[in-house]
Each structure stands twice: as C-alpha cells, then as structure tokens.
C-alpha cells in the first residue's frame, strides 16, 4: 500500500475541469435588416451607433454583474443565548443543534468568529458546495441563537470561486476569516492554499483527495481519503467472502477515478484476492459499456465484486448490461460518488454497496439538523450525507480557536492539528499524529429492500 501511496504523492496532480463555470454569452453584433426582408444573408453593414449602444449596454451589464459577483453572501452575528460544555471547551454541539431559532437567548456581542467559505458552484461540485454553503450559515444562526461561542457570534461569508479561486480566497482573507472551508477538487483548492500560504487553516470539506491534506500548511481533510475509502471497500468485499474482483478505472494514478481503483486493487490483492479484469471507462460520461461487458462476459465466473469510482447512473447502467449478458451474480461496490449522485433513487440499485461519508439514520444528529433546515427554509437540501462534513468543518475550526485561545491563523491551525477524538456529525475525527487526513471509520452502506442501510463499518 505504501508503494502506491508514495507513487501517488510523487505525481503532479491536475484535475481537469470539464467545464468553465461562469456562463458567458458574447453576442458580438447583430446582422442588420429585418427578418422578412429576405436579405439577412446579404446585408452586413453595421450601424456604428447601434454597435456602440450595444457595447455600452453590455459593458454596463458586465459592470453590474461584476459588482454583484463581488458581493458575498454574509450571515451570522446577532441572535442570542449561551452554549458551553460538551465536546470541547465552550463547544456543545448538541446544544447548538437543539437551538430553537424562534426562541433565542441574548445575542452575543463579542468579536465575531469569521468563517470563510470559498465554494465552487459549478456543475462539477456544486451539488455539494451549494447546499453546504446554505447549511453552514443556518448552523451559525443556531450557534448565535445559543449565545455564540463564549459570547462571540459566528459569522459565515460565502464567496463563489468562479474562475478565480485565489481572488475568492483573498476576498475572505481581507474580510478577516479565521479559517476557510474550501472546495473539494485540487484545481480550485490548490490556488486557495497558495493564497492562504498556511496563514489560515482550510478544511477541504467534501474532498477525499489525499494530496490536498498537509498539516504543515494548515490544510485538512474532514473525511477519509481515497485510500481509506477504497481499502475499506476491498476489506468489506473480502469479509463478504468474495475473492475475485473486476475493477473499472480511468487510468493508473489519475486523481480519484484512478487512485481509488489503484488502492482497491492493492488492498484486495494484499488480502489474498485476485483482480481478474481491469477495465477502463470515461468517468461521469460513459453509460454504454458494451465493449467492456463483452470482454468481462468471457472471463467472469459470475461471482466477482465489481469496484469503481463511477457515478451512480454509470454503475446501474453497467449492471444492466452485465445482467443482460447473464451475469447476475456479481456484487457492486462504489465510492462516495455513488452517494453524491443518488444511488438511493436509481432503478436497479438493489444490493449495490457504497462508502458514504455519513450513514444517516432517522433521528440522528445530522438527520435532525437537515430536518430543521427544511422546516426553517421550506425546502430540503439537495445533498445529505456530505452535509455533515461542511458542518464539521466549521465546528473543527471553532474547536481550534477554543483550544488555542487565540484568533491567529497559525495558532488555530496548530490547535486543529492536535485535535483528538472530536465527536463530529460525520463521526469521530482525530488529526493528532496525522498529516491532516483524519483517522475515521468508513461506513459501508448497501441498498437493501430499497433502503440505503448501514451494513458494516470498517475501522480507519
């Protein structure tokens, strides 16, 4: 395993984004003439005055858009009431979550604790960063409703990274953020880390990317990394008595889509299993696996585990095609991507296993918080199990402030790096003795009778 880790660490990791995330539409000029004059293909003289007006209009719109873009959503401050005790000095998570926003205590008046959220709202990770940036201000309201943190209100500012993550980070630093919650992928998280330069801690809330964690520069994951996730999947498969594996990868060493399969194969073979087939595919795109299925049909014994970091709709499409070839005895397990993309609501999902970040059960802390949010805002958040990571990011930063009794970034970071046994919403988190990747148990969930249930927990 160490060999694989070392190899990955050596690589320069670049996560290509498939899309720019700010839509722009440059309509550079109109053709002259009206539509029914019949000469729209011929007339091309431009009225310079019209062009100037259009240019002026577009310039004005651009200025307005830029002005709006620099406005970051800000919440927090105010409200009232006291907390205290519990998981760390002055941080009582249960009391915070139980706060009734209609019946708050006296508003905290101390210097605010400022939480900066540099979030990616694009279609690449907006599915978690958008709801995460909606939930944390709500939790800040609850904190302030209980009197804040030792009389200090918590303020949350959200800055969308847009096309310039460094600028968003700088905006938050200028505002005075004590710590940041960052986007999950390296293409935006790395520029933010370059901007913070270790002066302010950052929690990469929804990321499992091991290279983003580095306690030396105060960068922390909040959950297990790709290795922890994939190794847990291999362990579960082995524990289930499965000795043969079929693995889908985008290529050795490719962040997430290749690293997870690499780690799975290393662990599975280390346990004594055999990887009988390694197939390639295009992550987040392929839904026709005909070529791979034809090859698998020739070598499968219809008893293998099928592992991939594919999205839910890809796994169910693959499963359908494999079953169409008569391979109905296979077991499927995937990563957190399955949870992120709705394996719970897919057709043909019965029996599929995955590694969510939080195995939510009715009435537990995160379930209650999400229900509270829905009741207060009239609509549910789009993501569930990832949300605990965003809330934990905020709680961990606050815990760092409480532990060090300071508000300077390096001091907070040092305190966070020594956190041990923190009982977060996503599980127990320990940074002490790590390089910023917490030791956490990995839940294995499986669709059983149509319900997504916890079937095993693999120790971190």
């Amino acid at each position: 395993m160490e060999k694989v880790r070392d190899e990955i660490d050596k690589r320069v990791l670049i996560v290509n984004r498939s899309l720019p995330n700010n839509a722009t539409w440059a309509r550079d000029h109109r053709a002259n003439g009206t539509h029914n004059q019949g000469d729209m293909f011929m007339g091309s003289h431009r009225d310079s005055r019209t062009r100037f007006r259009i240019f002026a209009l577009m310039f004005s719109i651009a200025l307005i858009a830029a002005a709006c873009g620099s406005d970051a959503a800000e919440t927090g401050g105010g409200e009232s009431s006291g907390g205290g005790g519990g998981d760390g000095a002055g941080l009582d998570i249960d009391a915070i979550l139980a706060a009734d926003l209609d019946n708050c205590e006296e508003a905290p008046t101390g210097d605010p604790i400022r939480v900066g959220m540099a979030m990616d709202f694009s279609d690449v990770v907006g599915f978690v960063d958008i709801p995460g940036s909606q939930l944390n201000p709500f939790v800040a309201e609850k904190i302030n409703c209980t009197g804040g943190i030792n009389g200090q209100p918590v303020e949350v500012r959200v800055a969308e990274v847009g096309d310039d993550a460094a600028l968003a980070a700088q905006d938050l630093l200028d505002w005075g953020a004590h710590f940041l919650v960052g986007p999950p992928f390296a293409d935006f998280a790395l520029p933010i880390l370059q901007t913070t330069d270790g002066e302010v801690p950052m929690f990469v809330a929804a990321s499992t990317e091991p290279t983003l964690a580095d306690a030396e520069i105060n960068s922390f994951l909040v959950t297990f990394d790709d290795f922890g996730m994939a190794e847990a999947a291999a362990q579960w498969a082995w524990d289930e008595g499965i000795t043969r594996a079929i693995v889908f990868t985008e290529g050795e060493g490719i962040p997430y889509t290749g690293v997870n399969p690499d780690a799975f194969m290393a662990k599975f073979t280390e346990l004594g299993g055999e990887v009988v087939s390694v197939q390639t595919y295009v992550w987040a795109a392929d839904t026709d696996f005909s070529a791979q299925v034809n090859e698998i049909a020739g070598l499968s014994e219809n008893n293998e585990i099928v592992f991939s970091a594919a999205l839910a709709f890809q796994v169910t499409a693959l499963r359908g095609q494999l079953e169409g070839q008569g391979l109905d005895g296979l077991t499927y397990i995937g990563t957190d991507a399955m949870d992120a993309t709705g394996i719970q609501v897919e057709d043909n999902n019965e029996g599929i296993a995955h590694t969510p970040h939080t195995s939510i059960s009715a009435g537990d802390r995160i379930d209650t918080l999400l229900a509270d949010y829905e009741a207060a805002n009239g609509e549910a958040l789009e993501s569930r199990s990832f949300m605990a990571l965003y809330v934990d990011s905020m709680f961990l930063g606050i815990q760092g402030i409480l532990d060090c009794g300071c508000t300077d970034g390096p001091g907070i970071g040092e305190a966070v790096a020594n956190i041990s046994g923190f009982q977060g919403l996503s599980g127990e988190i320990t940074y002490a003795g790590t390089n910023g990747i917490p030791n956490k148990d990995v839940p294995i969930n499986r669709i059983v009778d149509g319900e997504d249930v916890l079937v095993s927990t693999i120790s971190g």
């Binding site: 000029h29 019949g38 197939q279 390639t280 839910a312 709709f313 169409g324």
Partner: protein
C-alpha cells in the same frame, strides 16, 4: 471472433445515435455554414423535460414524443432568439454564438434547476438481450439501428422528393443563388432547425434511455460526438455525416476492446489520433463537399 462480432453490433448501435446527431449538425452547417456547438443543448433541454415527466409517473411511451417535440421546439427557439440575430455575420461570429448558446443553456439549468445529477428510470428492456448463435444482442442496439435506418430513409425522402428538401439542398449548395431563384430563406432556415431538432430528438430518446440521467452539462458529450462525426464524414455532407457517425461508433467500441490493456485507457485519445490522421490524408473528411468551409 464472437467478441469481435458482438463489438461490431454494439458499435453499429452506438454509431447510429452518433449518425443522427451528426446529421442534425450537417443539416445546419449545409444551410448556414454554422458548426452548431449548441446542438447538444437540445438533448440537455429534452433531458430535463424527460426527467420531469418520468419522475412524475409518465411512461416512456409518452416521454418519447415529448422528448422529440421539446427538442424541435428548443431548436426553433434557439434559432429565433440567437441565430436569427446573426444571420449575416461571419462564420466565426456564428460559431461564437453557438458557444454562447451552449453556455447560457447550461447556466440556466445550473442556476435555476440544480447542479446535481437528476436521475430518472430507464425503460426495462434497454439491457435485455436475445441470442443469435453464441451472440447476445441487445434489443436496444437492434431498435436503435432500425429506427436510425427508418429515420435516414425518411430524411432521404424528405430531401429528395419534397419541395422543402429541394430548397434545403439548393440552399446548402449555394444559398445566395437559391434565394435569387425564389427560395424563402426564413422557411428554409427554420425548416433546417426543425429537422435538426427532430434528429436530435430521436437521438436524444436513445441517448437518454441509456443514460438514465441528466445534468446541466449533459449536452456536451452528444454535441462533441455529433460534431466529430460530421467532421469525419465531411462537413456539409449529409451522407458523410451518417457515415462519420457509424465510423466513430465502431471505432470507439472496437478500439476499446482491441487495444492492449496497458493503453486501453487511452481509447479516446487513440480515436482522436486516428481522426487527425484521417484529416492529414483527407482534409475534407471521408466525403468532401466543394462548398464546405472549414472553421
């Protein structure tokens, strides 16, 4: 041998969808010299319509015409709102406009619907197979190939035997002369966009049946496949577009299965390398059209 035959059938199935997409791209290019990078957005919009319908309990039998109608309507709306404003502009302006439409549609769904993947049920028969000797053929591939052949026959009839088809072909050959001969440019262009929308709609039905999901960027992949296939076949050639679609589909499936494991993950790259090679020897694509203008 069995695996190769199996892959050929699968490749033809995949290529059929690409052919329909490419034909839609080629129709617009023929008339407007517009390489329409917004073509995939017809599938994005119809995908969301399908998602709303299917998750509301509507059956696929009703979803199929809905997808096609939404695709045609979207194509016409895009023409009216965006492309009609730049008809006299340069090819480059048209190209940028199509990119603009692509990004705007994507942003609308991102901002006003969701950044998340939206799932919907696939038809139950999509993965079912039947046997021919040792081959297990997917019903889906069979239906796709048949529908594509029927669609191509109908389009051929439309283009060869109707006044609209004659106008379209004349406009594709020489738009200005066609207009001087009395061809109504508005009707031809709107007709071309409607036809392009119809073809994208039919392709979209199969694309969405296989995908079982949609998202704001859902149109990128079909757009790329359609444009690539049109380029392979020869930009501006309708027959070339169909040929390009089949070639691309077959190349993807056969290469993925035949490449050594060590480079199998580079299948897409190898496909692109082969396309580049093709353009070295046949810059105009498989079927060269004299008036086609490369962009």
């Amino acid at each position: 041998m069995t695996e190769l035959l199996q892959n050929l059938i699968d490749g033809l199935g995949r290529g059929s969808i690409y052919a329909l997409l490419a034909l839609g791209v080629a129709v617009i290019f023929g008339v407007m010299h517009l390489l329409n990078f917004a073509h995939g957005e017809l599938i994005t919009v119809s995908g969301y319509a399908a998602m709303w319908a299917l998750t509301s309990g509507v059956s696929w039998w009703l979803a199929v015409p809905l997808i096609i109608v939404v695709s045609i309507a979207t194509s016409l709306v895009i023409e009216r709102v965006a492309f009609s404003r730049v008809r006299g502009a340069s090819d480059f302006t048209l190209l940028l406009t199509s990119f603009g439409v692509h990004f705007v549609v994507q942003a609308i769904f991102l901002l006003y619907v969701s950044a998340s993947v939206k799932n919907f049920p696939r038809p139950g028969w999509v993965s079912n197979t039947y046997s021919i000797g040792s081959l297990k053929v997917e019903w889906f591939d069979t239906v796709v190939i048949l529908v594509t052949l029927i669609t191509l026959a109908a389009v051929t009839y439309l283009l060869q035997r109707t006044m609209f088809g004659l106008s379209l072909r004349a406009a594709a050959a020489d738009f200005d002369t066609a207009r001087l001969m009395g061809v109504n440019s508005n009707n031809v262009i709107r007709g071309a966009f409607a036809l392009s929308g119809l073809l994208a709609g039919i392709a979209g039905v199969f694309w969405l049946m296989r995908a079982g999901q949609t998202q704001p960027s859902a149109g990128i992949d079909p757009m790329l496949k359609g444009v690539l296939a049109a380029l392979i076949g020869g930009l501006g050639s309708l027959r070339g577009a169909v040929l390009g679609g089949f070639v691309l589909g077959l190349a993807e499936v056969v290469l993925r299965s035949q490449l050594p494991d060590s480079i199998a993950s580079l299948t897409e790259g190898v496909v692109f390398a082969l396309i580049a090679l093709l353009f070295i020897f046949r810059p105009g694509g498989l079927i060269t059209v004299a008036h086609a203008e490369r962009v």
